[in-house]
Structures are given as C-alpha cells and as structure tokens.
Amino acid sequence: MNKKRKGSSFGKSRRDKATKKRDWRGPRLPNAFQKELDRRDPDGGPSDDEEERDFNDVGDDVYEYEEAIPEEESKKNKRFDLVENYQYELPEDFKDENIASDEGEDAEDDGRHARMLQEITGLPSDAFAGSGKKKKDFIISEAYPESEYNPSRDILDGKGLISIQDLVESLHGKSGFSKLRKDLRRMESKAAPIITPLPQADQERVERKAAYEQSKKDITKWEPLVKKNREAPTLYFDEEMDLGFSTIGAIASEFEPRTDFEKKIASLVNHNEVVEAHKKDGARLLELNELSIEDMQDRQDRLAKMRSLLFRHEMKAKRIKKIKSKTYHRLLKKDRTKAADLAIQMDPEAAKDIAMKQEFKRAEERMTLKHKNSSRWAKRILERGIDAQDEGTRVAFAEQLSKHAELTRKMSSMNKSSSSDESSYEDDSDDVADGSDLDKTSKLLINAKEKTRKLLEEDEELPHSGVLSLPFMVRGLKKRKEAADEEANLALKEYDLSLKKLDGKSELGRCDMDVPSGRRVFGAPNKAVSETSKKVKSDSYYANSDSEDGGEEREDKVIEHEKDNHLLRSSDIDPNLLRQEFEINHDSVFKSFETNVEEPEPKIAYDVSFFASDSWKKMKKSSANNQIEVSHANNGKCSASVRSLENETMMEDDGGNSDADSGGEMVDGILSGGGKSGYELPSQSELIQRAFAGDDVEEDFEKDKAEVLNEENPEPEKPVLIPGWGQWTDIQKKKGLPSWMLEEHETAKKKREEALKKRKDAHLNNVIVSEKLDKKAERLHTKSLPYPYTSEEVFEQSIRMPIGPEFNPVSAVAALNRPEVVKRAGVIIKPIKYKDINTGGRDETHARRGQKQKKGKDRNMLVKKKTPKV
C-alpha cells in the first residue's frame, strides 16, 4: 500500500513541477495563496477521482496543483486506522525536519511530507496544505538571491524567524483550528527527548519482573483462605457429593437386559401392544390380560392335586409319628441301618458320605465336648448331686456320657494302627453299651491282662537267617525281649491290683454303683493301660477316699494330692498328732485374747478346722512334727509359720466354731504349757512390746536404709591386685597397687559420699526417700518438649482432659475426636476454589461449622499454654 501511495504521489508531483515552471509570476504569491485557499471548498475531502477530473478539466487555468487528501483522510471507508495518539512524540520536530529536507530535496518531497504530517497529526489536510504552500513559496523564493526586491516574508514582518504561530495564524478561522492550536500549545509545554530503547535482554528482564510482581499479587489473594484452612482443626472434603444418578428412574432408564430371563421379561414388557395400551388409557390392558377358561381349569386342577398329595403325605407322617411301639421303631431303625449298610457295600459314594458324616460327628464331639458333662444342664445336675436326680435324668446323663465315650473311642480306634484287632474293640464298645461302668472298667482290665499274658506266653521265635540271625543281633533281641517281659509282668501286677481295688470299691459303695461318676470311671481304664503303677494306685486311693467323704467333690485337687500323697496318708494314720498341734495353735491364739467361750461341740469344730487347714498341711507337713515338738517345748514363742497358720485358720473357720474348740483339753494345754494362774489384761504398750519382743526395729530400719543407699549409689569396688595387670609383677611386688588405681578408688568414694549427701533423705534419719528412677513412670514422660509447644504447662494442659466416650458426654465426644481431615473414600476432591473470605464467613452458621470453630478456639488456647508429663 505504501508503494502504491508513493507511486501516485510521484506522478502528481511531476505535474506540479510543470505547472510551477510554467505559471511562475513572481513574488505575489501570498495573494495567490489566499485566493487559492478561498477558492477551495471549505468542506474539503473531494475524492481522488474528482480531483483528477478537476485537474483535467481546469487544465491550464490552475497554476498549481493542490495536494489531494490522501485516502486515509478521506474517511470513505474504514480501511485505515485512525491515528491520533502520537501527539506526545512530536513536539517541534516536524519543523526541523522540514527545513532539513528542504535543503536537499525538490518540491515533490513536500507533498509527501504534508501527507506525513496529516497522517501523524490527524488534522484536516488544509492546514498542512497551507503551510506547505507557504513553505513552497519560501523555498522557491530561495531560487533568487534575497534582496530588497525580494524580501522574505519574515523580513517584511520584521522578524528573523518563522514560528509555528505564524504558520498557524494563517489558518485562523478554518475548521479544526482551535484544536490544532491547543495541541500545539501542549506540545510546546511538554517537550521531552525520546529515550533510546533498551537492549533486548534487559527489556525481557523488566517484562519478567513485571509479570512476576503481577502474579505474586494475584496469588496473594489466596492467603486468607489458606490461612483459614491451615488453622482449622478439621478440613471437610466430603461435602460436595455428586452421586451422578439422583433418582431410581434415572438408574432404571439405563438398564439393559443381559440374561435370557431378563430379555424375555423385557420383550414382554416392551411388547408393542402393551406399550401402546399403556400409552392410551390402559383399558386395553385388561383385554390383553384375558385368560382362556381351559388354562384356568388346568391350573386349578393341578393345584388341587398337589394340595391333596401334600395333605396325604402329612397325614402319613403324623400317623407314623404317633406309633409308640419300640419294636416298630427298632425295626425301622434296623431297616434304615440295613439300607445304609447296603448302600455302603453297593455304592462307594454313599459309603463315603456316611463315613464323612461319622467323621464329622466325631470331630464335632472332639471340638465341642458336647456330651462330656460340659453343658449347663449337666453341670447343674452335677452340682445338685446325681443322687438327687430321678431315674430318667440319670439315664439320660449316662447315655450322654456313653455317647461321648463312643464317639471318642471310635476315633481312637480309627487312629490306632493295625496292630490292635478291631474285634476286641467292638467287644469293648458292646460292653460299654450294656454293662455298668464298673463292670466296664473291670472288663477292660481283664482284657488287657489277658492280652499281656498272651503276649508273654507266645514265644517270639528268633529269626534264623538274614541280618537278624547274627549273634550280636540275637543277643540284642533277647535282651529286649527280657525287658519287655519284665514290663508286661509289671503291668499284669498292676492290673491285678487295680482289679482288686475295683472289687473292694464295688463292695463298699454298692449303693451308688449304678451312678456313673464321669471322669473317674471313663478315665481310669484308659489310663491304666498306658500309665504307671503309681498313678493307678493314687487313683484307686482317691476312689476310696471319695467314697469316704461321701460324694464331696475334690477332683480338682487330684494332682496336688498325688504329689504329697504319702503325707496325707500319714495324716490319716495319726490324727492325734494333728489334734495336739491344733490345740497348740489355738491356745497361742487365744492366750492373749479373752477365752470366755463355753464349749459347744468340740468334735465338729475340730473337724472343720482340720479340713480348712489342710492346704496348710500340704505345704508344711514335712516340718509338722518338728513344729509340734517345738511348740510343746516353749509355748510362748511361736515361730512365724505357726502364726501364719493361726491366721489362716482364723480366716477360714467360721468364727464361732474355731472359738468353740477351746475345750477341756485345750485348757489343759494352756495350763500345762504356760502355767499361768492369774490372768491380767495387758496394757497397750505392753502388748506392743510383747508383740515386737526380740526384734530391734530401729536397727533393722538402719540396715534397710543402708541397703537402699548401697543399691542406689553402689560402693566402688576395691582395687584388686592382679599379678601382671597394669604393672610388671616385680614392681607390683615392691610397690603394691598402682597409684592410679588408688586414686580412682578415692575419687569414686568421694563421689559416692557427695551423692549421698545430696540425697533428699540425707538428714532425715527415719525416712528413706528412694531416688531410683521408676521405669514405669519414665514411660509416661517425654524427654523434651514436643515441637509445636512452647511451654510445659500448655503441653500438660493439652493432654489433661480425657477425650474418650466414657468420660465425655455424647455431644462433646464427636468434636473431641474429629480427625484433621474428614474425607470419604470414593469422593473426588476438587482443588481449592476462590471465595471471598469475608462474605463466605457469614453463611457458615450451620451446626457443625459452629462447633468446629469453637473447638478451634479451644485448641488455640491450648497451644498457647502446654507438658512433658502425662
């Protein structure tokens, strides 16, 4: 576009030249200029074409071509930007340039220059046209030497210079003049030089700096929001939940049938007729719903048939259930078992099933011990005594036990290796089934006996060939056999013994023979096979003692009793000794207190105390005799153990009874032992003295204290002379211990003394203040103050109040235990969104927020305060 413009202007200026040369008439130019100006249309802006035409038409009449308004100025279309903003940058320059360009260039430049001015200033073209004229005039006048005949206008005016004012004056009254003048004035007042542009790098740096400042400022707007979030005790991220589908309809609309059934249903539901009927009033749905009479009839018949079949079946079941005949049921059962047996033989699958069932039952029994008197019912019966029960209960009880035995025994038979033959066990079980318990056990014993005898009798024939026939092997085998025989003999003896015992027992307690007393009966025979003779003995012994006690439950003590079995027996044997002992005990107790009790039934009292103290007996039996002797010798001084015994008896006995046993014998004991004639009530101090007679409390305390001190500040070890250590032996011999060792010892001693002096109880004679660190308490202390806290008090405060639901009301617990971030799995968390915190703060008034803020305040308070202790 520039080019084009240039081209056109070039053409025009050539024509200008021609006219100038032709019509030049001398210095009357100002007039012509005026005239020309007048002639011109004040509106200005004739188009290019018009002007061309004008020019052509007028031809030679016009002595000078008037510059056309450039396209930009014409404002005909908006192809050219309006430029108005360069006024600042053009103070007076255009004048200078004008002059400069005038010198070197011819007139065609002027046109271009004028256009430039127009472009820049945006003023109407006349203004510049005028000035251009003037200038042209001035320039042309230069062609002639300046003289009095050809004075320049300035000279005529009496000035040496042309100012802009001069130029503008000429435009007075034209349109846009005032604006032009204003602009000029402004330009004059604010003239400043243009600074050269910065180098690229610096420019970019400045730009970046500006950008950074800007973005900094932008980011800073988040600060209050972030601060609020950071200070909040809890952040909630579970509030914006978008479940996607809000209604069932929305979910259902996406449903697509996948399985055959669904498709079938869908095809029926979406059938055209149905849908249409739905869309209409729905009356046709009833029509579609119609059923044929035959269909209905069929259905009814079928239903009736099914119902009658069901009824018959029920009736049959009822009738069968009513039958009370045992034989019938037995036969039925037999049939069933037969069928099962047949199934086992015929059908491996069924056999497997049955075996599985059996195994399951056994396993269940092993796991639950359901039939082993462990149920509540069984326990209660045991508690009340099996004798107290009626026949039916007892039978049920026995049945249960036998069931347990059966189940567990079967198991053991399954687990046993093939060495034991099955038939014998079946026999056993049969026996168990019908015989009573005692019979069972004896039978078992007899069985075992027989077997061992058989084993003994049948001689193992020694191998005659192979490795085993080698002489040393044979010897070894023989030896082993002998040992086995011995064992078998022993076992035989045991069986005999236990059998005898059983017989005796059966004789003794014939009355409760049929009452199976659980563990004992079942356990004994099983144990007897495997366990040692000693145990069997003890067992049998206890069987006896049980019967003596008359059903007292003492089974839980079995193991203890076994241990000091012989001790008890001794107690059984010589109760007299014990009696004496008790007398002594009691008299030592009651010597100091009032013994003004009448004697009710000394025998009973004695019994009670005997039983009550038997735990003590167990422990102290070994020294019992000695003690008794001792107490016989000096009645006044009882050893500590005796005293403890007294207490025990006191505690365990009913007070009255124990008091009551101060019979005649006892009084005798006192008389014989203490020999007191007149009894006086001792004073309190006397009592105390007597109580603590013989022990020096103060000394003991001092010893204790020294011990504690030694423990907490141990004495340094004395240096020991080890030959060759630290020094050569010869030097050691001469000088003894090396000096540094002695020194070390000295300093250690001093340190210890100082430490002792520093102790809190150094000056407190009757006090021991332990300074040992308690490890358990140590765990409840922090080593240093934890990070966010600044003082101990605050930290202690922060953990002072409990937060658990047991210690706080429900309303407070939730707030106390709320985690720092509340979120829900599966809820997408969006990044932070900007909201003005001042406006946002007001609408947060629902309950949770309120609580949160309150809590936040509390926390803050707590943070200010804090502690390393729990």
């Binding site: 900094k216 996406e254 953990i799 658990g804 997408i828 968390i829 932070i832």
Partner: protein, 453 residues
Amino acid sequence: MRVKVISRSADEFTRERSQDLQRVFRNYDPNLRSQEKSVEYVRALNAAKLDKIFARPFIGSMDGHIDAVSSMANNPNHLKGIFSGSMDGDIRLWDLATRRTVCQFPGHQGAVRGLTVSTDGRVLVSCGTDSTVRLWSVPFPSLMDFGTIHNNEAREPMTVNVWKSAFWAVDHQWNGDLFATAGAQVDIWNHNRSQPVNSFEWGKDTSISVRFNPGEPNILATSGSDRSITIFDLRLSSPARKIIMRTKTNSIAWNPMEPMNFTAANEDCNCYSYDARKLNEARCVHKDHVSAVMDIDYSPTGREFVTGSYDRTVRIFQYNGGHSREIYHTKRMQRVFCVKFSCDASYVISGSDDTNLRLWKAKASEQLGVLLPRERKKHEYLEAVRNRYKHLPEVKRIVRHRHLPKAIYKAASLRRIMADAERKKAERRRAHSAPGSMAQVPLRKRRIIQEVE
C-alpha cells in the same frame, strides 16, 4: 406408706427399634474417675500397636506393560481410571477396581514421556520422544457397564501433532482447554490447533517437567536440565521468575489447596517446598529418600504428598513435615518413575521400572469398605488418642518404627554419617575463622544458587 422409686421418662428409655442401643447414663464427674488418663494412655499404646498389626498398604499390582512405566495420569473426573505410558510407547487405561487394562492407545514411536487428562476427563493428551503430541478421546464409562471390561481394545488418536523436538512432559490446565508441553521450549497448546498457541524460551536448556497450578490455572512451573525451576504466567504471556539450585529438579507439584505453594522433587534425595512468592529460600526441606526423587504428587487434600524415588521406595510426606510419614516398598518393586495420588486421597499408585503399576493405600492401616458409624467412631477415637500421646516415648517408638530393606537402611545411615561429618566440619571452620566471617546458611537456602529475575 411411702415408696421411693426412680422416676424415668418413657421417652428417654424407649428404643425406636429393637436393634437400637440402650441408652446409658453416665456421671462424668472427673472425681469419680481418677484413672482416665492412664486408661487413655494404654489405649493409645494399643492403638499404635494395632496400627502396626493392620498396616497392610499394598493392595495389588497391575501387570501388562512390557517396558518401564514412565508416566501416569489420573482421570480427574473418574475415580477408577488411571492412564499409564511406558518406555516402549504403549499407553494403557487401567481400571483400579479390577486392576485390569480397559483399553490401549497405541501409536507412539518412542517412549511416552508425558500423559495428562483434561479436567472433564474426556481427552487424553500424550507426548513423547517421537516429537508428537497426540490427543485421544477417553472411553466414557457408563454406570451400567462397570462389570464388563473392554478387552484391551485399541483406540485411534483424535489428532497427532508433530512438532520440532522431543517432549519431556505435558500437563493440562485445570478447567481450561490449554495444555503445556515441556521440551526444548515450553509450548502452550490448544485442543483445536495443530500448532502451539504460545511458546516460551528462557535460556537454551531443555525443560524436563511442567505442572499447571490447579488453583491458579494461568500459572505454571517447569523445571529444567539447567537445574532451574521456572514460573510462567500465561496472562502476561511471559516467564516470571527462575531459581537455579545446586541439583536438578525432576518433578514439581503444586499444592492444590494452597495455590502459592509447590514442592520440587530434587535429584539430591530431598524435596523442597517453595512459596512461589518467596523463592530465595525453601519453606521446608523434606528429607528421607536415599536416592534421587523421581516424581511427586500432592494429595487432593493438600495435606500430604507422595514421592517416588530411584531408591525403589515410595514415601508419603506431610505437607509441612521434614520427614516422611510412611514408606512403601516391596521386594519386586524397582526404581519408581512416577507416582500419583488418587482423586479421593485414599490411594497411591506407583509406576516403576519393573513394568508394573502398584496400588497402595494412602493410610497403611486404614480399614477398607463401608464402615458402620460405631466402627468409624471407634477408629476416630483411637486415632485421636494416638495423636494425643504420640510424643510419649513408647508410643512414638512404635509409631515411627519401620522395617526397611537392608540397602535402604544402610544408605540412610551412611547419609546421616556424611551429613554429620559435613556439619561438624562446617562448625570447626566457623570456630577457627574470624567471628562473623562465615555466615551460617540454613539448608533451606543452601541448595539454592541464584534467583534469576
């Protein structure tokens, strides 16, 4: 005769349903309970132990790639979907619930270096060393076909834009349609144009990672191979500020809840949290890794972030914690190249050299599945109690104890020794030089060489 009875209103003691709990009335007078503090201490101890017992963070691995996993992207609009790109140019979409590939996006000739998804979750952008940026449409999962799995169907790219040089990273603007790629220069792209709408160059070094700020979508940060971190502002379409550190920054993550803060995963085993307004010093230095930190991603809650390292571990840090809260490792996991937090902040996904993606729980002992309100309350209480007594030695020991692979344990202790030695040396130097001549520079500043305007 006068009979004294306790009067109780029927309203308070009648249950609405038979399953409702009986109301219990307690006397909360503290004088009645003197042991409450010790009770709670024991509970805290037990809670800490239980936490250890139930800490089973590893959920499962996603196997399928045949080369190392180089990049991953979350679908911000769909929780289950995660995209992963591997070094052989394979891109896969995984279903986290079933841990299987849903579909593949084949086409890249070289390694896939960057993956990102638009905020609406419909467009996947990938770029790689083959100098192409590819836009893919993401298959939209409808509610009904959550059971069915698209059997590895291959997808065609929507557009393929070839550009001048290899790309190292890409990230999408939050809630906008611009995305930025990092490579020889930082380019800003529009979905609809085949050429970048803007490109920035500050220096001649390659930028290796780029992240948009999710809070302020017009600000982005890049890290360069010249050890620099640069912040750009799109509104003024010019870079804003650059800092040069002593070692390279491998990845950057903005805190989504604090738009001014970002954390840089550095080659020197540490992460540095910066305030974008004050770049002359780091806000916090997160130490614990024993090898270069390769990738970092913030939890959407903004309270913690996950890092993956060249030392074959994944660690989780508090946003203001100097040491990691958690370390995850398995025998089979190799160098970790990329990590992501799931959009609900409860899972962590890591992609490693052994071609697998691994899914972890963000909280190792968290109970998954639906919690009854009482269960939730119990968990909350135990957590609160544990938090309260976490400073006491016993509890602290249990909570902090981690069983580490030998190599990492040894490397960590070696690093500690080295750091101690360095510190001691500096101390001695200072002691033997004129007072004030050697200023003590904190670690937060020490690793920064220069802040360039």
